[in-house]
Every structure is written in structure tokens, then in C-alpha cells.
Amino acid sequence: MGEGTPMGFWELVADLVLMPLVAFVVGLALVLMARRVRARIERRVGPPVMQPVYDIVKLYSKRTQISHGWMHDVAIMLLLGGFITAEIFLPVPGMNGLAQHGDLLTLIYIMMVPMLGMALGVGDCANPNGSIGISRALTAMLAYDVPYIIAVIGACMVYGTSNLVEIVEIQQAGGPATWGIATMPLLAVAGLISMHGMLGKEPFEIYIAPAEIATGPMVEMSGKYMGALFVMQCFQLYTVGVLYTTLFLGGGEMWLTFLPKVFAVILVFVAITNVFGRLRTDDVIAWMWKWPTGIALLGLLLVMIDV
């Protein structure tokens, strides 16, 4: 436990309710921004402001619903539950939630749950496209996790702690010179690439791949299940953006400085995504294990020499 002020019970409860809620709202804005920026790159206007909300409400208000068995239902809960839990462990300005009680490793562990849930649920659909998609998703996880873990370990070594709250405090206290991107630029680059892979966007979009496996895991998702996936997308963008900001961009003391950083991180991802095609599965692994992993190892080496 850190030296933070001991939390009252009600404060904790408020955090537990508010943090996923804030994550969802910010996530909606991130999704909107991603779609608008994409539209701009493609030289068109793009969707209206409320479009992400329309989509989600529409999907949740479908009149009929196809379930492919109880595992399918449980999997959706795992999927959303995993992300909601992850939000509670991510410190944001003013709210620490359970971040004091769990550390970075807990978070990494929790962030694997959604993918696992998806795998279980899609396996119940008996659609070969879904199964291929899931095997590709797990392969992609294998690819991006190597540089990701190295980058995270390096960051922990630099900060000397794996507690996210303390990491934020260290960066806040030292100013921009102590931000992760300044103290360990190589690890920051590797982290950016691996987190891009985590989002599953081009060029690492191997498990959605509409033209190959018809959106893979999402192929049998209808109505409310699809709605859950849209909600998950909000959480996913938020989680990745906040995690990167926390580790390498100094986290945030107040929302006014914190949110622009999160949006900037996602903006980088979106800008990269829309001018690249999709690599093949084996190319993704080869590339991920070569460049980001190499950069991360080099960064780790520098960090270890420094330490």
C-alpha cells in the first residue's frame, strides 16, 4: 500500500461506480474522434457527434436476439467485466479506485481477460470465421505482448515501482523531464507500437480482417452482443490511451491536462491506422518480434545501465 491517504468506504464505492462511467463517456468521445479523424483523412465529413451513442442504443434496442448457448452469454460478461475491472485499477485525476491495492501486473493480467472471454464465446458460435479470428487474435496477443511486457518491465525499473499511483506521482513531481517519454524514449516507442497492436488496428488488424474472415470474432455477434462489443471498443481505446499516458506521458493531475494527452495518443494510432494496409499473421509476428522487441530490449539495456 502506498502512502496515499486512506480511503473512506464511500469514497471507494463512488470511485468504483464513477471510474467505469467516466471511462465509458471518454471512450465514446475517443470513438467519435477516431471516426471523425478517419473521415477527414478520407476527405469526407464523417458521422455526427452523437453517432457512437446512436449505434450503441440502436444495437441494445434490437427486438430479437440470437444466442449461441450460455457460454456465449457468459463470454460477453467476461469481455465487458474484464474492461470494467481494468478501469478500476487505472488511476485517473482525482480517482484512484483500487490502483493502490493492485499494481501494473494486476492490470496486465486483467486486460487479458476480455480476449479470453471473447475466445470462449466465439468458440461457442461454431462459425469457422470466428474460430479463425480467435486463433489469430491469440496469435496477435503473442506477438504484441513480448515488446509490451518488456516495455512495461523497463518502465517499472526506471520508476522503481510497479504501483501506477506512485508512477504518476513520480512523474508529476519531477515535471516533463521525468516523464517516461523523456527518461526512456526507446521503451516509449516500443510501448506505442505494441499498444497499437493491442488495439488491433491496421497494420496489425489481423483478427478483424473483413475481407479475409468477415470480421472474425464478431461474425456471429448480433444486437446486444454487438452493442457490448461497441461498448468494449470505447473501453479499449480509453484503457490503452490512459495506460500509455500514465506510463510514459506523466499521467495527469487534473483532467484538463490529462485528457488532451489521452486524445493525442489515440490520435497517433488513428493517423497511423488509416494510411496502412493489413499485414499477414506471420508478418505481424515477425515484425513485432523484430522491431518493437529489438527497440524495447535496447531500451531495457540502456535503462539497466543507467540503473
Binding site: 476527405r43 469457422p128 475481407a211 479475409e212 488509416n274 494510411v275 499485414l279
Partner: protein, 380 residues
């Protein structure tokens, strides 16, 4: 319900599985299906399944007047309709002994090249979308729309022009159409570097396309591959040059070739062809400014137009390959038989099945789009 051609008796070994690719699938060009038997990622066998777009054109054409078929013909190939009109019109001209005025010939060449550019831009867009590069699709199709505007101005229709008639073209160019076409060509040339940066020179695109769906020259010749796909395998064969029609002998243009025969080579050939088409269009515009005269030879009463008995086989180079029309007349007011040979009848069926065998699941869409297979002309 199982699809009709499903054969439940065969039990493949347990490590193999079957995947229905299409007809309702974004990796399929048009409405078409491929049943693939896979071992992991590798395609053991691919069986194409067409006929989803079958309208019985050849039968329909036997039941309509020679002149009525002008409306039917462009609908055979949706993305590239003008070569079909040209092939049919030339078949009728050969049978009826019509002489096309010079100005009409140049206008026809212009329409054919514009259609080629449109079809190639469409293919680039589709090809980019199969690997997730939607930006190129958005830009390319918007670029194509500018050409469709010119088409609309000249013919009154965006897609199905029904403009080329036996004996010439339907009506003369409206005033200023050539100037506007020139502006559009300039716009295309201005945008070309963007497309190159985004698509043709992109490392990811090259990585995805190089060595995919290789057709060697021997195989290409033996399998009946035509058009840009044959040229990508190293054979400088072009109907416009080998079996010239219209004014193509008077036009200067190159026949671009590549030797690798893979998806990348096919892309590059098409890219070079757009440049050549622009070159042709400039020459055509220049000549059209000088040539005056009628745009159609006088036709007999089209409702009672009996074409002398005989048969004619005409070939036209479309954006996909060689289009052939075989028309037989028995001296009546309607065609006795019209046989349409679309280039994709080879590319989308036998060639695709052979190229897919041994390829990977990821590359099915890429191969199909790089062959520029057009299902409507397979099914007719």
C-alpha cells in the same frame, strides 16, 4: 439448407476444414462464391461457384431486336460496360456492313479509355480495401466519380451509357465536354503522386502483393489468361495492338508489361495502363477538336432492321482482358445467337481455382481482386 453443390458424402481428413467464401462476403468481388478446403491456412482445393448473377443474357438477346439489345449489352459487365457495347456494335456493323464515321470512331475510343480508367480506379480501390487500406478506396472511387460526371454529361447516364450504337454513337459530344474532360485528366494527374505514396509504394501493400498468386508465362498462355493479367506475366499482348479496331492504329501508346506475374505485377501493369489511357485520351481530345462530321451512319428503320445472314466474331480489349462477341444472324430482325466471351470467364473460374490452390486464406481476396475477376460477365 445446404447450398446445392454441397456434397455431404466426402469426409475430409480431420485436420482439413471447409470454408465458404462468399457470396455474402466482403472479400469477394461482386456476387460470387468460392468453396475452399483448407489445411490450417493453406488452401488445398478451391471450387468456384458462380451463377448468382445469371440473367440469361444470351437468351434474352435472341428475343429482342438488334437495336433493342444496345440497352442490354452494357449490363453484362457492371464496372466496365463500354467494351461490351463496342464489341456488340462492331459485330452488328460487321454483319450489316456498316461504315462508322471517323468522328464516331474517335469518340468511341475516348469512351473506351475513360471506361478503362474508371474500371482500374475501381479495382485499385477494391484491392486496397481487401487489405484494409480503405483510404485508397475512398479516394479512388471519388476520383472515378469525376469521370462518371463526364460520362453523364456526354451520354446521360453514369454507369450504363448505351451510347455506342451500331454505325456510330448515339449523339455528338456536348459543347465543352472535351475541356471538362481535360480538367478531370489534369486532376487525376495531380492526384497520382498521392495514390503512389498511399498505395503503390506502400511497404505493406508491396509486402502483401509480392509473390502472391503467381502465374508464370507458360501457365498464363496455357490457361487462357488475357489482358493486363497476361501482360503482368510478361507477354506484350493487347487486342488494341494485335487485332486493331477503331482508330487505335493511329494512336501512339505503349503496352506495359511486367515479368513477375504476381499480384504486385498485375497492380503495376494496371497503374501503367492508367497512364497510357491518359496519354491516349490526350491524343483523342486533340484529334476530336479537328475532326468534324457526322457521328453515325444512316441506319434503316431500327424496328424492322433485318441484318443479312452470317456470323461475326469481334474482340475488344477491356480493362479485364479480352472481350469476344460471336453474333450469328439468320437474316431476321433479331439475333439468332449471340455468345459473349467475358475475360473473367477464364480469370474467375479455372485460373482462380488453379492459382488459389496452394495459396493462403489471407490472400484469397487479394488474388481475386488482382485478377480483376468480374462475376457478372462470368454468369451473364
Amino acid at each position: 439448407m445446404r447450398p446445392e453443390n454441397y456434397n455431404p458424402v466426402q469426409h475430409p481428413p480431420s485436420h482439413e476444414y471447409e470454408l465458404y467464401f462468399g457470396p455474402n462476403h466482403p472479400g469477394i468481388e461482386g456476387n460470387y462464391a468460392i468453396r475452399v478446403r483448407l489445411n490450417g491456412d493453406l488452401i488445398q482445393e478451391a471450387i468456384t461457384d458462380g451463377g448468382y448473377l445469371h440473367r440469361g443474357f444470351e437468351k434474352l438477346m435472341e428475343q429482342r431486336l438488334w437495336i433493342q439489345n444496345i440497352a442490354l449489352v452494357p449490363r453484362i459487365c457492371v464496372p466496365d460496360p463500354v467494351p461490351m457495347e463496342e464489341a456488340y456494335a462492331r459485330a452488328v456493323e460487321a454483319l450489316g456492313g456498316l461504315e462508322v464515321p471517323e468522328r464516331a470512331q474517335w469518340i468511341r475510343a475516348m469512351m473506351l479509355e475513360m471506361s478503362r480508367i474508371c474500371a482500374h480506379l475501381f479495382t485499385f480501390g477494391g484491392n486496397a480495401a481487401t487489405i484494409g487500406l480503405y483510404t485508397n478506396m475512398f479516394w479512388g472511387i471519388t476520383m472515378r466519380d469525376l469521370f462518371l460526371d463526364i460520362f453523364e454529361e456526354i451520354t446521360g447516364a453514369r454507369i450504363y451509357h448505351m451510347y455506342i450504337t451500331p454505325g456510330g454513337v448515339r449523339r455528338d459530344l456536348p459543347a465543352g465536354a472535351l475541356d471538362r474532360l481535360e480538367t478531370v485528366i489534369e486532376e487525376l494527374e495531380r492526384r497520382t503522386p498521392e495514390f503512389e505514396d498511399l498505395f503503390f509504394d506502400s511497404a505493406v501493400v508491396i509486402k502483401r502483393a509480392r509473390g502472391v498468386g503467381v502465374i508464370s508465362l507458360e501457365n498464363a498462355l496455357a490457361w487462357g489468361v488475357t489482358g493486363p493479367n497476361l501482360r503482368a506475366s510478361g507477354m506484350p499482348s493487347d487486342v488494341r495492338r494485335d487485332d486493331p479496331y477503331l482508330v487505335y492504329p493511329d494512336i501512339e501508346f505503349d503496352v506495359p508489361t511486367e515479368i513477375e506475374g504476381d499480384a504486385l505485377a498485375r497492380l503495376r501493369v494496371r497503374q501503367a495502363e492508367v497512364t497510357q489511357s491518359v496519354r491516349i485520351l490526350r491524343q483523342v481530345i486533340e484529334r476530336l477538336r479537328m475532326i468534324e462530321g457526322p457521328v453515325r451512319c444512316p441506319l434503316p428503320n431500327p424496328l424492322a432492321w433485318n441484318i443479312p445472314a452470317g456470323e461475326a466474331y469481334t474482340r475488344v480489349e477491356s480493362s479485364k482482358g479480352e472481350v469476344g462477341f460471336f453474333a450469328v444472324s439468320d437474316g431476321g430482325p433479331k439475333p439468332y445467337r449471340v455468345h459473349v466471351r467475358g475475360p473473367s470467364q477464364m480469370h474467375a473460374v479455372q485460373v482462380l481455382e488453379r492459382v488459389l490452390k496452394g495459396s493462403r486464406l489471407e490472400d484469397i481476396a487479394q488474388i481475386m481482386f488482382s485478377l480483376d475477376a468480374c462475376p457478372p460477365e462470368v454468369d451473364r
